[in-house]
Symmetry: C2
Subunit: 218 residues, 2 copies
DNA sequence: ATAAATATTTAGACAAGTCTAAAAAATGTT
DNA sequence: AACATTTTTTAGACTTGTCTAAATATTTAT
């Protein structure tokens, strides 16, 4: 059994892990969790003793197989709860994160199994992120940042990179939500802004926004 | 804001408080929470500093108004989650307690408000216990222990006193659930057992069982 | 009313998780 | 290669919530 704190560390390492990087740095984890590097060192040593991360001094951390499974399960719970909050309790997608952050630590395999069933076995959370299955497997969807599309290419909005409340509220205000069809009408070389068509109307999108929206090309 | 541990103490005192008794003893709280009396003393002092309990050395504890409100809200959350687990996720009434014990600590007023709405503003949990309203008010229902009914009196099963998993499973096995109509056919003076009619059939019920079942007389 | 039993509190210790400040190792720069 | 900078670790301290053992207060029984 893992404490909430241990679970948070595992989840942070999981999220910081990408195909390329081999070891996650102490500093990166500290920043993600808003703690100090020295605290990270302590916790990492503990998790290493429990065989859920592998760790060599000064070399960074990575999850072991069992650690990855545990972390994926926490992410699974987080995302299922987000779906519940949005679909059943009518939260908006920018309100769910903090509550899901608490709910993900509830320990009850049956609860998650039944919740999954109750929600109709969803495969994505309200931000378009994939929900790991019971064995911790994540199926990644073919997705590209809006900023990588060329002129006249189009697709469907399937996710966000930054899921901060501010960004999500901004998107809501503009009428940009998951599932919306988007076409790139113009790319402005000067400031990398885009003119897109969405909801049958033209809209100008800054570079920053385009860098945070995922599109599934059609 | 109160820690989970603080919340558990407040809830324990709330449950131990009855109309008669004025102060709850250190030992009673320790037993309820499966801790040691010395730990209780420490925590009580802390809660007293926070003005949620009033406390005089060697005299026992009682909740202040604000403490009572906080405790009632925790009970409210606990019972709403129990309803959710049974009605939406098909848990049986003996499985909900441990999970609700965790869920009751989730902090989000909106979550509880929406959950309440989603469940249709229930007034009782799956064991027949009343759900406090948002202001912490409990409306008590006119209820009597089955063991206090006389021969030929009848009513509806509306709750249990002991909600341990064993007892609830026992009741399930006998087909005794909330809402069932029960009539006392015979009272055995010898061992205080009862012969009742339920589900159109006769059944013998021991004193112990009759002391743990609440009936609303009809 | 005094002794025995019980209940409560105090004192001191410990584990988990965090922090600050300082030391050590690795990396970058000239 | 030598120095400066950054990253990471160590050492020691603090908080929360718990415990054991001992001291003190209260209650019960004779």
């Amino acid at each position: 059994m893992f404490s909430q704190s241990e679970e948070n560390y595992l989840k942070a390492i999981f999220h910081l892990t990408t195909a390329e990087k081999k070891g996650i740095s102490t500093n990166a984890i500290a920043e993600k969790l808003a703690t100090k590097p020295s605290s990270v060192t302590d916790m990492i040593r503990k998790l290493s003793d429990k065989k859920v991360v592998s760790y060599k001094k000064y070399y960074g951390v990575s999850l072991t197989n069992s650690g990855r499974k545990i972390a994926a399960n926490i992410v699974r719970k987080h995302r299922l709860w987000e779906v519940f909050l949005v679909e059943k309790l009518h939260f908006s997608w920018d309100e769910v994160h903090d509550v899901a952050e608490q709910l993900e630590h509830i320990q009850s395999p049956k609860l998650i199994q039944q919740l999954d069933h109750f929600l109709g076995f969803p495969t994505q959370d309200p931000h378009g992120d994939p929900i790991p299955d019971q064995d911790g497997n994540l199926k990644t969807i073919e997705k590209r940042l809006l900023s990588t599309l060329l002129k006249n290419e189009a697709g469907v909005c399937i996710g966000v990179d930054d899921s901060s409340s501010e960004f999500l509220k901004f998107l809501d205000k503009r009428g940009i939500t998951l599932g919306k069809h988007i076409k790139v009408l113009e790319k402005e070389a000067f400031d990398d802004s885009l003119i897109i068509e969405i909801n049958q109307q033209k809209m100008t999108i800054s570079k920053k926004i385009a860098n945070n929206l995922y599109i599934q090309k059609s």
